[in-house]
């Protein structure tokens, strides 16, 4: 293990290198570019033995990765924003074909208006495409998720593609001290990819076929069941990861001072750090505040979340996303799961950080205050409107 000063993109590239993918196909887009630049350099200096394929678009990046996965090898791609949307057809193709491709997505705003900065509208708009979705908070977690994502995606009970999301710029371009494991450790954690979901010259296969109304639903049910089976596999991966690397991750959600909390803020990604600091300040002033960071959006941690917030009298969901005409997509998922699990506390939605707009300490303090006093269902940080 060595300590390095790395950005989120660079840390992720280190994690990918340690995972030994055989085929990497990627197309550049800000703020993802650094991860593919580093991987290209690793291929050049032979620290990574992989085919780096310079595709001419994101659509081809994922199409190529699907082809390589169907050939039976570990693959990697990375993108962001418009690029992720451009490969959207491939997302459902990869999940439907049960190809355990790993992709890093640098969370970035979607046009129009054009904007290169971070929000989470790109990946959240594609929550229903059958990919596991994880959201990293810091560069170390990004590196570690690169390794764990392959373990989970390729597990025979799961065989589902995996998207690791890093907040654009705030995480992709921010430098932190990161522990980079040795290759031998990574190899001890992550086995070589073995699959029978691939071409076979002794027993030829027809893959990615059509299935009519009589059988189609069976394939779709199996996709759903496999995604649910990812829950225990994520736990298994984290236990094994802790045994090898000495870092224990908390599962689908990361809770902070929630045990006795009266007001709990639920969020995802890098903003969780500031939310925890605000919770500490509020507790110092006598308000029992807590924070839940959703590490996974698919599979969705409904039961875990309901368990974590059971002491709260009011809840907030803070997200960098809005589904126009409804509410934030994370909010919709959270409220649905809480209702199904018997949580009756009011839940308010706070939309912030769109197009990379800063969410300040004061903003989060206001989120807690409004949640405690009660507010409208959907609130845009920085915009005061009458209750609609």
């Amino acid at each position: 293990m060595t300590k390095k000063f790395l950005s989120g993109d660079e840390a992720f590239a280190e994690g990918v290198r340690l995972a030994r993918p055989e085929v990497i196909s990627a197309y550049p887009i800000t703020p993802q570019t650094i991860v593919v630049e580093r991987l290209s350099e690793m291929v050049e200096d032979t620290s990574l033995d992989a085919e780096f394929i310079h595709v001419e678009s994101e659509h081809s990046a994922l199409s190529c990765a699907i082809g390589a996965s169907a050939a039976g090898v570990r693959t990697f791609t990375a993108t962001s924003s418009q690029g992720l949307l451009y490969m959207a057809e491939g997302l459902v193709y990869a999940s439907g074909g049960r190809f355990p491709i790993v992709m890093m997505n640098a969370n970035r705003s979607t046009a129009l208006p054009w904007n290169i900065y971070g929000d989470q509208r790109d990946s959240l708009a594609l929550l229903d495409t059958g990919w596991i979705q994880a959201y990293a908070e810091n560069a170390q977690e990004a590196l570690d998720l690169a390794l764990m994502s392959y373990y989970i995606a390729e597990h025979r009970d799961v065989s589902t593609p995996f998207m690791v999301n890093l907040d654009g710029f705030i995480l992709t371009h921010t430098y932190e001290e990161v522990e980079v494991p040795e290759q031998a450790q990574a190899d001890a954690f992550l086995p070589h990819y073995e699959t029978d979901n691939c071409f076979d010259f002794d027993n030829p296969k027809n893959m990615a076929f059509s299935a009519g109304p009589d059988t189609n639903y069976l394939f779709k049910y199996k996709e759903h069941a496999a995604m649910l089976r990812a829950v225990p596999v994520i736990r298994e991966a984290e236990e094994k990861f802790a045994a090898v690397f000495g870092r224990q991750y908390p599962g689908l959600i990361d809770t902070y001072r929630t045990e006795d909390a009266e007001i709990i803020l639920i969020t995802l990604g890098t903003i969780a750090g500031l939310a925890r600091e605000v919770a500490d300040s509020l507790r110092a002033q006598g308000t029992k505040a807590g924070v839940v960071r959703l590490r996974y959006l698919r599979p969705f941690p409904g039961k875990e979340l309901a368990q974590a917030v059971k002491s709260a009298s009011a809840l907030a969901v803070l997200e960098k996303d809005i589904s126009f005409g409804a509410a934030g997509t994370v909010y919709t998922n959270v409220t649905s799961a809480l209702q199904a699990n018997g949580v009756t506390a009011p839940v308010y939605n706070f939309i912030g950080g769109l197009g990379g707009r800063n969410i300040s300490r004061a903003d989060i303090e206001a989120v807690f205050a409004k949640t405690a006093s009660g507010t409208q269902q959907v609130n845009f940080i920085g915009i005061e409107v009458e209750n609609a």
Binding site: S25, E51, I53, S63, I66, F199, F201, N206, F209
Partner: protein
């Protein structure tokens, strides 16, 4: 050893599918796979051949095969080739079979990218001159004057107003190691080109005319005849691009009647004498260029 009816593989690799009677596309796929053999991975995008051959549980390829995204034939071929090579497998062919729309329209970007990268793949475009799978809509390879369901022939517009996109020369302009045109009407020529391509490293492209009786409006028994006639009357040509130069494989001393070729197909039945004159004039101009500039 050159391919002939006597030496052609008697095994069937594309069998039990539900292609229409007289389908030129399925003939091209079936024949090409007999040349390429069992150690072939076939990539087919959304389109006729994937629609008729991959209906779970009736899967019709005896070799490894996969449906790609519509725009992704070439990019998936790239991944398949790279992945198998990484597994240490080298004695195989990665072949794509895409229709005219899948090649000249939605798939041209990925095709250009794969040729540009120099990937070791064979791309075969079976050209039936319209989006036949969705019900005969105009593609970039629909010929001038053809009636399709999106280029109706009426009083004001006589079918498709644009000529076929010149895919063969577009592909050649990439400096591809090997490109060829063919037609299922001259099957030995097509098979020989597939065999030649299979032995060349890097990207290869074969553009084969494959009539669709349903879309062309001809009897199902006339597929091969129409596919011969299109070359005999000069509205198609048999050629190769190799080592940076073009070669015409077949130079008819005299063309058969283009008018007869056109009038036999219901998609051209509305054409006026003037329309036909325009088509013949454009044919003659093309042949003048070919005979002047290409080797023979």
């Amino acid at each position: 050893m050159s391919i002939s009816a006597k030496t052609l593989d008697t095994n069937e690799y594309f069998y039990g599918h539900k292609a229409c009677a007289g389908c030129g596309g399925s003939l091209a796929v079936r024949a090409a796979l007999k040349v390429l053999g069992e150690r072939t991975v076939a990539v087919l995008p959304a389109g006729c051949m994937s629609a008729v051959g991959f209906n779970f549980p009736q899967l019709c390829f005896a070799n490894n095969a996969i449906i790609s995204m519509f725009a992704g034939t070439a990019s998936m071929l790239t991944g398949v080739e790279a992945g198998l090579r990484r597994r240490g497998i080298t004695d195989f062919h990665a072949v794509g079979f895409a229709g005219d729309g899948g090649t000249a329209d939605i798939g041209i970007q990925a095709l250009s990218g794969a040729i540009d990268r120099g990937d070791d793949i064979l791309y075969i475009c079976y050209d039936n001159e319209a989006y036949m799978n969705t019900g005969i809509q105009k593609s970039g390879l629909t010929p001038y004057g053809a009636r399709t369901t999106t280029t109706p022939a009426g009083e004001h517009i006589h079918g498709n107003l644009r000529p076929k996109k010149n895919m063969f020369e577009i592909v050649a302009a990439h400096g591809i190691p090997y490109a060829a045109t063919a037609t299922v009407g001259y099957l030995p020529d097509f098979l020989a080109k597939v065999e030649k391509a299979s032995k060349i490293k890097g990207p290869k492209y074969i553009h084969v005319i494959a009539p669709c009786p349903t879309g062309w409006g001809i009897p199902v028994s006339d597929t091969v005849e129409a596919a011969k006639e299109i070359a005999d009357c000069g509205l198609w040509y048999l050629a190769e691009y190799e080592n940076g130069s073009f070669r015409l494989n077949r130079d008819p001393k005299e063309f058969t009647s283009a008018e007869d070729y056109l009038r036999r197909q219901s998609r051209f039945r509305h054409l006026t004498d003037e329309d036909i004159r325009v088509i013949i004039e454009s044919r003659d101009k093309k042949w003048e260029y070919i005979r002047k500039n290409w080797k023979q």
